[in-house]
Symmetry: C2
Subunit: 296 residues, 2 copies
């Protein structure tokens, strides 16, 4: 099997090509909003969420042709949330992935509008996925809107904001992460099932896909906190000890580094246990291990 | 027939009741985002868009039970766009309908998040409308995402922003209004058709619904510009001559007040011509006339 980084890279390029088509400025339209959308949506990245969509689609008998629309949809919602997160009223970041953030280039008004337009485009793409059944498309819309919404990602962003400079207990920390980043990771796995026409949430395979996603999502966050302490600034591409400086509650507020490593490993193993029974699940096993062992 | 203002008031109250249910803070959830959503979504208003959805649904054999979900969905997308429009980076307004704007009460971060969450909720509600077929629900999602998106409402907001302090020609003015406010008004009429299971855009009734909406949307804008010049501040609830002070291009930049009145009247008549052939269209005729003759 090809190296997981290579597979991720290839899929990210494939998603970029497709997003380029979706985000082309329509004829006779003013360029601004589309330009701002392309700036953020085509700036690369690992595109873990699309990769999950495609991998689960293929695991359960779907094809990449059925998956690609849902891959683009979830990526757009993710990128939109990053644009908002970077804004002065939220995290006030000037750079992301080494590039100026959207509002630094286009101004705040266009940042708000392009994030908004990306979300709209995501639903348009998902609802137009004519490679899948109408049931699959409708479920995709529900997964995206539900898991990105007030009880999902957006709810998590809010909890993150109000938790600043506050003591947060362990359950609240878990809840915040489960929503802020976990929700879209679960949505990705579930969208993959959708692309394979597994539209029944009570299906054992769908449940296992969601459990796998919960596990790697949690492990990912724990690993993030570990890297903030022992990562290499040059490899990470960002300053370390940021959490400490901001007095942020992290997993390391509740356990030692070794315990955190053990915790992340256990969650990864539990995730793998959910999917290893399925033929072709090796790529998802590799992904989980790679996320656990990454150094950036 | 009951007075149109009474019908509008009754329907607005009905939509508010339903939105209250949709926007109730779910159990165990932090209140912030939902609180901010309710603040803006339940602050009343005429709710013209929901009224259009319902009226077209009933005109074409649908019921208010089929329409209500789509009514709430379009209203949420509309309200979300108002929250964004009021933000400091856009129009920087402190008041709307006599109440402090969302970001003045909740801060900009929560304003962005609650607008975002409202859009998500809108798609969730539309895709869950189990009183209609899956085809109707999918088309509703496509109408909302397409007409609110980069070539629709959001595109119009952007044209509005970049047109500030600039000479705008007549076609550009028409294009801006047709998108910024026109697109959601057309979406409303089309969603009403959807609720009546008229999901084929080539259906003559669907085309007429859209033409009616285009006509009253344009007349509405022309009237707005007229009221800004000859309206009564006390009745309007806002300062007049605002366009002039901001050196804004309006319909009155291209014609006299009398010509503008004639123009709005003609568009209203054309709109009415599109629907008067249908039994039960009186309420839509009344609505068009009322919008033309309103003094606020």
């Amino acid at each position: 099997m090809a190296n997981i980084e290579q597979l991720l890279g290839e899929n990210s390029a494939r998603v970029s090509l497709e997003l380029e088509k979706y985000l082309k400025t329509p004829e006779k339209e003013v360029d601004g909003v589309y330009d701002a959308m392309r700036y953020s949506a085509l700036s690369g990245g690992k595109r873990i969420r699309p990769f999950l969509v495609r991998s689960f689609a293929e695991l359960f008998g779907g094809t990449e042709e059925k998956a690609i629309a849902y891959e683009c949809a979830i990526e757009l919602i993710h990128v939109s949330s990053l644009i908002y997160d970077d804004m002065p009223c939220m995290d006030n970041d000037d750079y992301r992935r080494g590039k100026l953030t959207n509002h630094k280039v286009y101004g705040e008004a266009l940042a708000v509008l392009s994030g908004d337009a990306m979300n709209m485009k995501a639903f348009e793409i998902a609802a137009s996925n004519d490679k899948t059944s109408v049931e699959s498309r409708l479920r995709a819309v529900l997964l995206l809107s539900g898991l990105a919404g007030g009880v999902g990602m957006i709810g998590g962003q809010h909890i993150d904001i109000i938790s600043e400079n506050k003591k947060v207990d362990f359950d609240s920390l878990l809840n915040m992460h489960s929503k802020k980043t976990g929700a879209l990771i679960r949505a990705s796995a579930l969208l993959g099932c959708c692309a394979a026409e597994l539209n029944d949430p009570s299906d054992e395979r769908v449940k296992n896909a969601e459990k796998y996603a919960s596990g790697i999502g949690l492990a990912f966050q724990i690993k993030d906190d570990i890297l903030d302490v022992e990562g290499d600034e040059k490899i990470l591409g960002k300053a370390v000890h940021a959490d400490e400086k901001l007095d942020k509650t992290t997993f390391l507020s509740f356990m030692s580094i070794d315990e955190a490593k053990e915790y992340a490993k256990r969650e990864t193993e539990k995730a793998i246990d959910c999917i290893k029974q399925y033929n072709g699940s090796e790529v998802l096993t590799e992904l989980a291990c790679w996320l656990l062992n990454r150094n950036k």
